[in-house]
């Protein structure tokens, strides 16, 4: 059996490992056509857009509502819970954890729901802005995961593997498609100041080479670690240092013909130098109109942090970044869900609506896939809390809140359903792996063909294969 990864040959310091700047500039699939072109002697500056099959989306913005947002209190109302409110709830099953034991009772949603848009989508009325976008959204109620622990469920949604250590979705997409901008990473993460449980493994390159790792643009301090030298070293001095470095490196290289690894490393310093101006340019929102800033809620304490990230996401994809993941949280509302979820909804509502509208008005929504979900949903019931009952919910892997917009998804539809109390997805029910397969499909990638040989087998995002959820596709 001849086993090689398209991108990756171990035996030699292969130049393909060194072509890239911050991220992979060309993905493996794109790269193979590039190399083919080189071998044919034809021009080799760009790979084609078409990869495994015609893509509906060229890029993805993934809104990760970390902590487990409640589907029952956002997009999947269950009037039945009003009837059963505070009645005792019993659960059985072999997989009992401490969370699901003890005395439990049903909890109705403390929120009002409306039917919004022409499609009449169900939405918590607190989403004052997003309710005006529902005709561009495909709500999905059929997804489920396997774990009720935050980090394992986050790993599952982000990497397809509950136990972590595998490449994230964004890494797979970048591996497949690359990025259009050599000066920027293909996969960018906009985390909260506080990283999620499980940490940076949520945007890991896993068994891929390092250039596929998600690069966090940090909300505070230096956006990219070590982007700038200490204040005492001016840009002019930095340039002088780099000039000496380049001169010495060139002399060294001249005695070592054929060493593309050394040449790539030499060039990486110049790229780094360019990034020092490029990255702040992207982060600098000066050029945006007052109306745009206002639309995203920038300038209001409540919405500014998430608003900046949404606007940044738009700017990044405009610059050619392939996959942007934004974190919001913490949606883990075991108690006082009205206050906690209410406040979180108000923090993301206006920015998300602005992002969708902005993408649409710029003609980007049609080929930008927007995904929004958490790592699991929440239970229709709750346990006793500090001696009393409170409106809150525990973790539920069997149903979750999820929606898509743009990128070939079925706008203005609600697909799938949960049971009458929202405990379990029952209609168009699919494991998260099928969601992954569908997302890749929309991006022109076939999960069964986007493989990477590691530890004795060809690995794929879905682990062992999955199916496209056609109902979600327009």
């Amino acid at each position: 059996m001849q086993i090689t990864n398209r991108q990756h040959l171990h035996a030699t310091p292969d130049r393909r490992d060194f072509l890239y700047g911050l991220g992979a500039s060309l993905g493996s699939v794109a790269l193979s056509s590039l190399l083919q072109a080189e071998e044919d002697g034809s021009p080799s500056n760009r790979a084609t857009e078409t990869v495994h099959h015609p893509a509906r989306a060229k890029r993805c913005i993934f809104l990760m509502l970390e902590g487990g947002p409640s589907h029952l209190d956002t997009f999947d109302p269950k009037p039945e819970l009003n009837q059963r409110h505070l009645q005792e709830f019993t659960r059985s099953g072999k997989q009992q954890s401490a969370m699901s034991s003890g005395k439990r009772y049903f909890v109705k949603s403390p929120f009002d729901f409306i039917k919004a848009g022409e499609c009449g989508a169900d939405i918590n009325s607190t989403f004052e802005h997003l309710q005006t976008c529902v005709d561009d959204i495909c709500f999905y109620r059929g997804a489920f995961v396997e774990s009720v622990n935050h980090p394992t469920a986050c790993y599952h949604v982000n990497t397809g593997n509950r136990f972590g250590g595998d490449p994230a979705l964004g890494a797979w997409v970048t591996y497949g498609l690359g990025t259009d901008n050599n000066n920027l990473p293909g996969f960018v993460v906009l985390p909260r100041t506080s990283y999620p449980q499980g940490g940076a493994a949520n945007w890991s390159n896993g068994f891929f080479p390092a250039q596929y790792q998600g690069t966090p643009l940090r909300p505070e301090g230096s956006p990219i670690l070590d982007l700038n030298p200490p204040a005492r070293i001016t840009r002019e001095r930095q340039r002088d240092n780099l000039d000496l470095l380049a001169a010495l490196n060139r002399a060294h290289l001249a005695q070592r013909p054929g060493r593309s690894d050394l040449e790539a490393r030499l060039n990486s310093y110049e790229l780094a130098y360019r990034m020092q101006t490029e990255v702040p340019d992207i982060l600098d929102l000066e050029g945006e109109s007052a109306a745009t800033l206002q639309m995203y809620g920038i300038g209001q304490t409540k919405t500014e942090p998430f608003g900046r990230k949404c606007l940044l996401a738009r700017r990044l994809i405009e610059k050619g970044v392939r996959f942007v993941q934004i974190y919001s949280g913490n949606w883990d509302s075991h108690d006082y869900i009205q206050r906690a979820h209410g406040s979180l909804i108000r923090a993301v509502d206006q920015p998300i609506a602005a992002l969708l509208k902005d993408l649409k008005q710029r003609g980007l929504l049609k080929d930008t896939l927007v995904v929004c979900c958490g790592e699991f949903g929440r239970t229709p019931d709750n346990g006793q809390r500090s001696g009393g009952k409170s409106y809150g919910r525990d973790h539920n892997a069997d149903a979750m809140a999820m929606w898509f917009a743009g990128g070939g998804t079925k706008a203005g539809h609600t697909i799938g359903a949960t049971d009458e109390i929202g405990a379990k997805a029952v209609e168009c029910r699919h494991h998260i792996r099928d969601v992954h397969v569908t997302l890749l499909h929309l991006l022109g990638l076939d999960d069964n063909r986007l493989t990477y040989y590691h530890a004795g087998r060809f690995k794929q995002l879905s682990q062992f294969g999955g199916q496209v959820i056609n109902e979600l596709i327009s």
Partner: protein, 902 residues
């Protein structure tokens, strides 16, 4: 797919002239090829699970195939018309959406596609099971392998291509002439066959750096007492063989040798100081395992003993503190049990993890594949997977009292304890005042509580929870200075709701809990018990390797000891090959067998199988001594070759993957070597060996960033207060799964969750940013400059020394001139620059999101280490000349020549 039996159709035609009861060509084709393709590639979706037959197409019988499926009915199989039959068309992948098999990696070869077409053209005959067996007995090529048996007879009786079974066969040892170096005997023979000439010998400087980093992870010319590059060069000129032999011996005798080899072993074992997942709890005693590995290499412990101690150090007759510490290996993977997890599931997670890790580490077999089904490529039945797992089903976690050995380093204890104590005290103060406040404000809640009904600020409630959690975390962490081993015992499995503190060994390990039932778990599902199994190992290695066998104990027996003995048996065909291949790969950057963790049919087969077997046999005959093996390999001419080949064109043409060792492969320093080398040239490196993990300076923004854990926020990362505490070798820095040192990650240090068989090298621009800009690198440059100025007088001597120390050579006239000019101009600018000493606050305000309100709240955290923090040398403490030189030093540390080993 090499396991397929390649049987040409023309051969089949050759038999067709025989008697009437002779099977037809079509029947033979079916029995020898088609049936196997269907089974391997089709039936798992099309028939294996009768409740869920993909597309309604059942491929288990001819009748069902003729009936067809939902999309394609009778056109699936049109006898005598292969080209039109969809069964064939689908395999050509010409029909969008119906490429079969769906996974591209499993697609059929053109030859296989043609077999299907021809079989249909021949009328698609489907002989009986008996007939198939008859045909296979008569005509099948390839070899069956005796194993404990697959889940289906087809698997048990399947045939393998001979070359895929190399790893299970007994060693085949060729004679090598006494005058020849065995490594070169085999390598040169292949080069001659390939008509390739070898590159000349490397120059002395390159070789010294290669050997010094390879054996110790440190640059030459930085350690007192070690031969300098010029001393080595002089000796090398007189007598290269002797010079290399002596230099290798000198380096093998250093303590840093054990550190370098331990670092490489710990990549395979996945060492970390925390448990990962939601809590990422400290593993306070894991460091003793890390130091055990360093000692094992430094003492040149026979590899067999090294293996036995890690797998069964507690069960050995001669069990010692040392061997008990070694069993930490079994618990190196990430693992936790919280109130949110189901014990049966997490227990199974560990059983799967250890079965696979033992397979990868010692036997170069990724066994994970056999968890759900018989191995698709290798002769590893699912039964063997569960037999191996049964070895561990009586293995239980415990932190066991184990006295400190005289050679364990306890110097860090005081600082570690002090920090934890201060941290707990500070938290306790905050807790007490919060409690007082809460006692005053708290109202009792009745009925349905709304926020604020209890009278409390939700931020305070969160803080209280966070503080209590962190006190509990640090209280457990306190045990890092106690004589406890992170270890295991043998006994019943006791159900645990959560594990958030030390687990001790029960008085009677067979009293409480249950003896686990050892069965196959159908489809890998922890709740789907199948056939019972008894403890055992890989049956293919036993049969093909002609191993001398003794049965494994069951019940309360010492199962792990039996496995350890099985692995270290001289007749085990895998063990010596695996370790020899690892050591080779650590020196050459590639294994003789290309995947050091995978010797199965999907791993890269050995490029020089005779050499691998020779070395394995040599290793066994030399007392499984890793040091001796190192000497043998490193004294070869193959290792000593230059990286520059005189005829690059021909080399690339004939050996594009550079697998024949005509030239040496250059490599970049690993993440740890980078940091350690910088500390070594600046003389800041504290050479102490072992001890509790140290906390170096890491990127301060990452250090200060809040990190969510279950029920709160982990304590801020604080570097140790004193330079000598921080500036230890990288192997001794704390490995926190949830907070990796960004410098290490950036330079391809693998994550500690999976076994890493070999390091990768990527070159990305953020590496340049970090090496030019990071405080940690700036600090090294300044200390390097200060050291040079301290030790030498003239500018000329200083620059010459900088090159000698960092690069092991003298600068050229041009380099000297360029560096002098740069230094002067930097110094000139520094004359007018004023530097304030840095200020380190002892408190930090952190912002996190309150769970109950969904709103941010701030809290203050005390950082005791910053009360006595002494920074590394800072610009404010140096003169302009030193600061100017520091910029030259920074450039030197960034050179390709510093980063790469020729």
């Amino acid at each position: 797919m090499r396991i397929f039996v390649f049987f040409s159709l023309s051969l089949a035609f050759g038999f067709s002239a025989f008697a009437a009861d002779e099977p037809s060509v079509g029947e033979k084709l079916f029995a020898l090829q088609i049936k196997k393709i269907f089974l391997d590639k089709c039936v798992s979706c099309h028939g294996a699970d009768q409740t869920e037959i993909a597309g309604g197409l059942d491929m288990r019988t001819r009748e069902a195939l003729l009936k067809g499926g939902e999309t394609y009915g009778t056109e699936v199989l049109i006898p005598h018309n292969g080209r039109k039959s969809f069964l064939y068309v689908a395999t050509t992948r010409a029909e969008p959406g119906y490429e079969m098999p769906p996974k591209e990696a499993e697609q059929l070869t053109t030859e296989e596609q043609n077999w299907i077409r021809q079989w249909i053209d021949l009328g698609s005959p489907w002989p009986s099971v008996k007939m198939v067996e008859h045909i296979q007995n008569l005509y099948a090529q390839g070899k069956t392998v005796a194993t404990t048996g697959g889940l289906a007879d087809e698997w048990t009786n399947r045939r393998y291509q001979s070359e895929d079974l190399w790893a299970y066969r007994p060693l085949q040892v060729e004679q090598v002439p006494a005058s020849a170096h065995p490594v070169d005997w085999f390598i040169d023979r292949k080069l001659q066959q390939m008509e390739l000439t070898a590159a000349p010998a490397a120059n002395a400087r390159d070789l010294a750096r290669r050997l010094s980093f390879g054996l110790t992870g440190l640059p030459p010319n930085t350690q007192s007492g070690w031969p300098t590059v010029s001393e080595f060069s002089a000796a090398y000129e007189r007598d290269p063989d002797k010079a290399v032999t002596n230099y290798v011996a000198d380096l093998l005798a250093t303590r840093q040798y054990g550190e370098q080899f331990a670092r490489q072993w710990l990549d395979v074992a996945r060492y970390a100081d925390t448990a990962g997942f939601a809590n990422d709890y400290a593993r306070p005693n894991a460091w003793r395992y890390r130091d055990y590995v360093v000692r094992a290499f430094n003492q040149d412990k026979p590899y067999t003993q090294f293996v036995q101690e890690q797998i069964a150090g507690d069960e050995l007759e001669s069990a010692t503190s040392e061997s008990r510490i070694a069993t930490g290996f079994l618990r190196m993977g990430p693992w936790e049990q919280t109130g949110m997890s189901v014990f049966r599931v997490t227990r199974q997670q560990w059983l799967d993890d250890i079965t696979d890790s033992v397979g990868q580490t010692f036997l170069a077999h990724s066994l994970q594949c056999a968890k759900c089904h018989d191995h698709k490529f290798d002769p590893i039945p699912t039964r063997d997977y569960y037999r191996m797992m049964a070895v561990f089903s009586t293995t239980q976690f415990a932190e066991i009292d184990t006295p400190f050995l005289p050679n364990e380093n306890k110097t860090g204890f005081k600082q570690a304890s002090k920090w934890i104590q201060n941290k707990i005290a500070a938290y306790a103060n905050q807790r007490d005042s919060l409690n007082q406040k809460i006692a005053k404000l708290k109202k009792s809640e009745n009925g349905v509580a709304q926020i604020g009904d209890n009278g409390l600020d939700p931020g305070d409630e969160n803080s209280l929870a966070r503080i209590k959690k962190n006190i509990a975390r640090h209280t457990w962490e306190r045990e890092k200075t106690e004589p406890i081993a992170y270890s295991v015992y043998t006994g019943n499995t006791i159900q645990r709701v959560k594990v958030n503190s030390r687990v001790v060994v029960p008085a009677n390990p067979w009293n409480k809990g249950n003896l686990e039932k050892d069965t196959i778990l159908t489809g890998g599902d922890a709740y789907a018990a199948g056939d019972p199994v008894t403890p055992g190992a890989l049956s293919a290695a036993e049969s093909l390797g002609q191993m001398s066998m003794s049965p494994f104990p069951t019940e309360k027996g010492q199962r792990r000891l039996a496995l350890a003995n099985w692995i270290t048996s001289e007749s085990n065909p895998l063990t010596a090959r695996v370790m020899v291949n690892r050591v080779w790969s650590w020196h050459f950057g590639q294994g003789i067998a290309g995947n050091p963790n995978n010797f199965g049919g999907t791993g890269k087969p050995p490029s020089h199988p005779e050499l691998l077997d020779y070395l394995a046999n040599w290793f066994i005959n030399n007392g499984w001594s890793v040091k001796k093996l190192n000497s043998l390999i490193l004294t070869s001419r193959a290792y000593r070759r230059s990286t520059q080949h005189h005829d690059l064109q021909t080399l690339l043409k004939k050996d594009p993957n550079q697998g024949f060792y005509a030239a040496f492969h250059p490599r970049r320093l690993t993440a740890e070597e980078f940091r350690d080398a910088m500390l070594a040239v600046s003389t800041e490196l504290n050479p102490a060996v072992g001890g509790v993990p140290c906390r170096p300076d890491i990127n301060s923004e990452v250090a200060m960033q809040p990190r969510q854990i279950m029920g709160g926020t982990a304590s801020v990362y604080e570097p140790d207060p004193l330079p000598e505490q921080r500036n230890r070798r990288s192997i001794y820095t704390e490995k926190i799964r949830g907070l990796r040192d960004p410098f290490m990650e950036l330079f391809n240090q693998p994550g500690p969750d999976r076994s890493c068989e070999l390091r990768e090298t990527s070159t990305v621009a953020p590496q340049a940013l970090t090496l030019m800009n990071a405080d940690e690198v700036q600090d090294r440059s300044l200390a390097f400059a200060a050291r040079l100025i301290r030790e030498h007088e003239t500018d000329l001597a200083i620059i010459q020394e900088a090159f000698r120390i960092a690069l092991g050579r003298q600068p050229t006239a041009a380099e000297l001139g360029q560096c002098m000019t740069h230094w002067k101009s930097c110094t000139k600018r520094e004359l007018s620059t004023h530097h304030e000493p840095p200020h380190y606050p002892t408190e930090i305000v952190r912002t996190v999101m309150a769970e109950k309100t969904g709103e941010p709240y701030n809290f203050v955290e005390f950082m005791p280490n910053f009360e006595s923090y002494v920074p590394d040398l800072q610009p404010s403490q140096t003169d302009p000349r030193t600061r100017g030189l520091a910029q030259v030093c920074l450039v030197i540390l960034n050179l390709n020549e510093f980063a790469y080993l020729d």
